[in-house]
Structure formats: structure tokens, C-alpha cells
Amino acid sequence: MSAQDAKWLQDARRRDRKVLAEIYDELSPELYRYAYRLLGAADAAEDIVSETFLRFLRAIEAGGGPRDNLRAYLYRIAHNLAMDVHRRSPADADAPDPDVPVAPLSDDPARQAEDRISAEIARGLIWRLTPDQRQVILLKFFQGLSNDEVAAALEKPVGAVKALQHRGLSAMRRMLKRDHGWDEMEA
């Protein structure tokens, strides 16, 4: 647990309103990005951010909440909520968001092959991973968490996180090849 997390949690448990606001300002943007990457829908991502922080407040108020790593705790809650949303409306969640600008294709043929793997395809692959693999891939490659931090979020050893990452990427490559005829070696 970082010193910052420890201080935040200590003050949050004392209901320090300034610190509670600071926690929101500091962590809500990255939670939004995390939820957006999972769901591809801005409104749903905002809802998840709101609900995550409200649950945090409710737990703190009742004397519960995270034992140590606040950031990892918030990611866990957000991930659980996103899974609920996805389960209830997977078709909507995977649909292209009209607000997302379409990236122009590169002149490089190899790059073009990779560009064809749109956000929707990538998101579809992510959702076909196991929950733990999904969290590892997203937290590590998109949220910029280190192996130690991902391990804290999943409450697993670092070795298990590395194995999940390896298996998750392998599974995605297999799905790309089988379902989209895409081969990394050829690209």
C-alpha cells in the first residue's frame, strides 16, 4: 500500500470531507477511463464512477471499506459493476459508440492490419477472457498499473498475475486468428 493510500484511508475513515473530495478528484478520471474501455459507452462509464464512489462512501460510513489498498479496491468495485452492466446488456455495451472518433488508417500495410482491429473488436475479445485475465490486461496495459499494483487489485501473487497476462494475451491471439483471420506474424 502506498503512503498516499494509507493517509487517504485514515482520513477517509475520519470522514474528512476535504480528503474524500481529493480522493474523488484524483482517482475518478482513471476509473472513468477504465470503465469506458470495458464498456465503450460514456454514460455507462459515468454511472460506474458514481456508483463506485457511492459504494465506497457507504462502506466507509458503516465502518467497512478497503482494508489497505484504496486504488485497488476502487478498481475492483468498478470492475464488478462493469461486469453487471455487460451481463445485462452485452449487445449495447459492445455496440460502437457514435461519440468515438474513428482513427484514420495508416499508410503502412502492416499498421493497417492492426488498425483494422477496431476498439469494438478489441473490446469484444477482452470480454471473452476470464474475469481475472480481463482485469490484468486492462489494468496493466491501459491503466498503467505495475505488476505489484495489479496483484494488489486482484489480491493474487505477482507470479499469478504474470501467468494471467500470458494466458490472456495468448487467448486473444487465438481468437483473433480464428474469428478474424488475423495473424500477428503476418501483420
Binding site: L57, E61, G64, M83, D115, E149
Partner: protein, 283 residues
Amino acid sequence: MSNKDPQDAGPRWLDALQEVPERDATRAAEGRQAYLQAVEEIREPVSGVDAGRHKGWMSKFRKERSPMFSFARILIVLALALGGTGTTAAYAAQSSLPGDPLYGVKLALEDFRLGLTRDPQHEVLLLEDLVETRLEEIGALVRQGEPINLQLMNRLETHLRLALQQSAQLDDPQLIQTMEQIRTRAEQQLQIMQQLRTNAPEDQDEALRQTEQALLRIRNTAQDAIEDPTTFRLRLGTERSDEAPDQPDFAPPGSNGEGSGPKGPGEPQGPNGSNSGGGSGRP
């Protein structure tokens, strides 16, 4: 961020997910405002055991009843029904093990005690006592070199499942307090089971491994409940007390909210034994 792996960069074919459109400023501001409003409404921390909400005189007759009170009452009932033989048999049954002639009496007494309990928090603690009893029986059987039968394992699992279900009816402070007790006990029980397993004969290993897994599950579920009581209730709570907090208003866009709620305890969970919502997927 610490301990960055040189291979932290993902494959390029995942780049499509890197882009996240700029957050709607109005919506983000509304979310922040709602959060700050909730922060303003948060209750100050309470201190002392009597600082909780007033529950009226009824609680004195419900919550303060100890397991021994119930047991004493059972003995009185048995004594009245059977005379001295009944009380003697009831006491003797307490130390019986599966396979003993009096073991059925022991289980019947336990069910009777459970039947008398009306207060959910008291019932959870009683169920935890019964879990302890089952684990002591397992320990005794292992030491005697006797097999651990399926009925015993099923009963242990049932106690654990019921304890979680009953907990879901408690209000947040009660739930968290109870779950902290459950977590602590499960950790202690796990240590005992692990020691037991080290010295156990090979044919008992599978049953002990299952026991450990059951304890791990309850420890992790208790931790999840402490962290996020709402999700815990959504998964396990089929009946809620009047004092339990309102369900969240949160609803995903486009959902009808039917037939797709979180998984219950008996439903299949995610791979690796991780549940999909509770999410922690602990080892």
C-alpha cells in the same frame, strides 16, 4: 507506479482501446457534485457499543440471548419430556462424533437451537459456532484415523452458506461487524486445518482440502462484504430486513433489470473459482 516490467507495453493490436474520448464536462461535474453531496450527508463515526441506532426493548429479549441460554432451555425441555435420562443423553451427545449412536441427538439439538433463533445476527453467530463444532469433529476424526464422511462435509457447507445468507439481512454496521468476526474465525480455522492436513493420512487429504477451500471462500466472501456490503447483498440477499439500506438506484443504460442480476451462491461462477461480481478472485 512501481516495479515496472520492461514488457509492460501491450501488443500493438490492442492500441485501439487506448483511445478514450474526452469526458463530457457537464456529466463529470454532475457526478462530482452528487458525490460531494453524499460526502456532506455522511454520518459521523460512532464510538462505543451503545452508539448504534436504538432498537427498542425487543432487542433485549432477542439479541442478548446466548447459545448457552438456548441449550439450557433445550435441556429443560428434554428433562421434562424424558426425565433424567434426557439431560444425560443430551450432555453425552455433545462430544459424540459422526458414526456414534448419539450423534443424531447432537444434530437434532443443533437444529432445535437454530429453530429457536429469530435474530439474524444471533443466528449467524450460532451457525459459526456450529462450523467450529464440525471442524472440531473433522479434527477428531483425522486424529483417530477415521474417514470424514460426505454428510459431515455437507453439513459444514450448509452452515457456511446459511451464515452468509442470514448475514445479508443485517444492516450495514451489523453486517460489517459480523463479517469481521467471520473473517477472523475463518483465518484461525484455516490455520488449524492447514496444520491438520500436514499430518493427515493420504485418504483424508481430499476432504481436508475441500474444507480448506470452503473456509477460504467464506473468508474471501466476508472480506468482500466488508469492502462492499451492497454487492454482497445483491448476490446473497434474497430477503432483506426492514432496517437494511435501500438498494442502489444504479441501473445500466438500456437494461430492463430482469433476469440478469448477479449470480447467487449456487450458480456457476467465473473461471478459477472467482465470482464475477465480487470480483476479488483471491487465491
